[in-house]
């Protein structure tokens, strides 16, 4: 970024006792990329705050504070009637089931898409590679919630649409990761089988898959953890699970019930976090 200080002029062979005192670099230098980057970030932030009509005055006003306080106060006491708790429990189970089934479908779909998206061996022409990767990117860059809103039209309200939405988005994510894993697998065993004249499918099943399976499993488990969080909120657009209960009761201002549902959501997320933390520590030890 900045030029190294040139050695001080003097007779050759005789170094100065002290380096000349240098001023700190100027704050902005046209040749300094970090300076341009910082300036751009600053401009972006200022422009963002300037163009959004943010209502801070309204948010920090006494009235807003009071309504916030009233709002939070209504959360207590949480609704703990056994009948309602049962519904929350069903919602929680639905959320878990959506995430598990969605992830499983995504793993299958992702593997199916990862095969055409990867170059299986050196001489593989891999004709569909670029196209499949484009499909994977499109699947991946649309968030679960948007998929859910789109799929509601075809699959109707309920957890089925949510499951499919999770599966679509996650298939994109996992497909890309799986393709990388398959391409990076050691080529030896596959080459040995291919030299014997074994067909493509069996080379994959008996040489490539066993080598990459642990990696695929760990990616899938990691995505499952993400999907439980996603599944909890998918219902806000009507795709089942805890989110649907939440949106329903919050819309009707049943604050006690909302508090219970939020508690269940937090507990679910915390439980999953703790489990995956323990599991990962086990695996890495």
């Amino acid at each position: 970024m900045h030029a190294e200080p040139t050695p001080p002029p003097g007779r050759p062979g005789q170094a100065a006792a002290n380096l000349p005192y240098r001023l700190p670099p100027r704050l902005f230098d046209a040749r300094c990329r970090a300076c341009w980057f910082s300036a751009a970030v600053l401009a972006l932030v200022v422009a963002s705050f300037a163009t959004l009509d943010l209502q801070w005055a309204q948010f920090f006003s006494l009235e807003a504070a009071r309504s916030m306080g009233r709002f939070l106060g209504e959360f207590f006491p949480p609704d703990l009637q056994p009948e309602f708790l049962r519904r929350v429990w069903i919602g929680t189970w639905e959320t878990l089931a959506m995430s598990a089934l969605g992830t499983a479908l995504a793993a299958v779909g992702g593997l199916a898409l990862a095969l055409p998206a990867s170059r299986l061996h050196e001489a593989d022409p891999a004709r569909g590679r670029a196209l499949t990767r484009l499909v994977l990117n499109a699947l991946r860059s649309v968030p679960e919630l948007v998929w859910a809103a789109l799929l509601l039209i075809a699959a109707g309200l309920g957890p089925f649409a949510g499951t499919l939405a999770l599966a679509f988005h996650t298939a994109g994510v996992l497909g890309r990761l799986f393709a990388e894993a398959i391409e990076n697998a050691p080529p030896g065993p596959g080459a040995a089988l291919r030299a014997q004249g074994v067909g493509k499918l069996r080379v994959f099943l008996y040489a490539t898959l066993p080598q990459v399976l642990p990696q695929l499993m760990s990616y899938t488990l990691y995505r499952w953890e993400n999907n439980i969080r996603a599944a909890a909120v998918l219902g806000v657009v009507g795709a089942g699970g805890l989110g649907q209960l939440l949106a329903f009761h919050m819309g009707l201002f049943h604050m006690g019930k909302t508090a219970t549902i939020l508690g269940a959501m937090l507990a679910l997320v915390a439980l999953v976090d703790a489990l995956s933390h323990v599991a990962r520590r086990r695996l890495t030890r």
């Binding site: 705050f49 959004l52 209502q55 801070w56 598990a100 499983a104 806000v236 949106a247």
Partner: protein, 278 residues
């Protein structure tokens, strides 16, 4: 030895029984899941559903491309980016002080050995606060704030600020603690203040990693801000929701395409920056 050489290799997969068993076991586990999620793929192909879906998909073409609509999409796209950026800036305002409090490397009382009880409890409390902030999904924060401040970008910015504040704070503290604490501790031992130790010991060591994580989170915030639009926080998501409710496929397709391009661009920018930081 000779025996092994003369027997022909097994003609079929020797492990087929085990594989069959595990496939059966997977089905047994999947059955209750399918029941709970009302997994009935055939309803996708019922005549009535097929007709609705077909109509919607047919309305995708041609994508909406009137000048007025495109101008609106451009405006909303900028709003989406602005909500993400403003939200992340406020998240930093929340995360940085909390990180400074939570980082145990900056503890003076821990220098000789164990941390004193008071500071330990304070750090633990801040850590719990960060965990609570990040474990409430941003969509839920947005739902809450939409009730308090009304529809509009304020709710989205606040939701991103709180959730991402928690995420950034927790990860920043982890990054700062994972490095070599020697330089920082030397500064503290020789009478440097905590802030001095942070700025001259800890920060130069970890600046690249901290920046890279922040840029990655900015990319995530852009995705979130689209999603937040669906609960009324403004931006591309809200327009997409409106168009979907009106079954206007052409508009949905255009906005989806813009959105995919936006995410790809953010992805590219963030990957490039992270590579430049090394």
């Amino acid at each position: 030895m000779t025996n092994a050489a003369t027997t022909p290799p097994p003609a079929r997969d020797p492990a087929w029984l085990g594989r069959l068993f595990w496939c059966g076991a997977a089905l047994v586990v999947l059955w209750p899941l399918m029941h709970a999620t009302e997994f009935r793929p055939w309803i996708l192909f019922e005549a009535k559903n097929l007709e609705v879906t077909g109509d919607f998909l047919a309305s995708f073409l041609p994508p909406a491309h009137s000048g007025e609509f495109l101008a609106m999409v451009a405006r909303e796209t900028w709003r989406t980016v602005a909500i993400a950026t403003a939200g992340l800036t406020l998240a930093l305002v929340i995360a940085v002080p909390l990180t400074l409090v939570a980082t145990s490397v900056l503890s003076v009382s821990a220098l000789p050995g164990r941390m004193a009880r008071g500071p330990f409890l304070l750090r633990q409390a801040v850590r719990w606060l960060l965990i609570v902030l990040r474990s409430v999904p941003e969509l839920v924060w947005a739902l809450v704030f939409v009730r308090v401040v009304g529809l509009g970008p304020t709710a989205g910015v606040l939701a991103i600020a709180l959730t991402y504040g928690g995420m950034l704070g927790k990860v920043y503290a982890e990054i700062l603690e994972s490095g070599e604490p020697h330089a920082t501790q030397t500064l503290l031992r020789n009478g440097g203040s905590r802030l001095q130790a942070f700025f001259f010991g800890l920060l130069p060591q970890n600046a690249a990693e901290l920046t890279s994580y922040t840029v990655y989170r900015w990319e995530c915030a852009i995705r979130s801000s689209v999603v937040l639009g669906f609960v009324g926080a403004g931006g591309l998501g809200q327009q997409m929701d409106n168009s979907m409710k009106m079954f206007n496929g052409g508009e949905v397709l255009t906005m989806l395409a813009v959105f995919v391009a936006l995410v790809a661009l953010a992805d590219r920018v963030s990957a490039g920056l992270r590579r430049a930081l090394g």
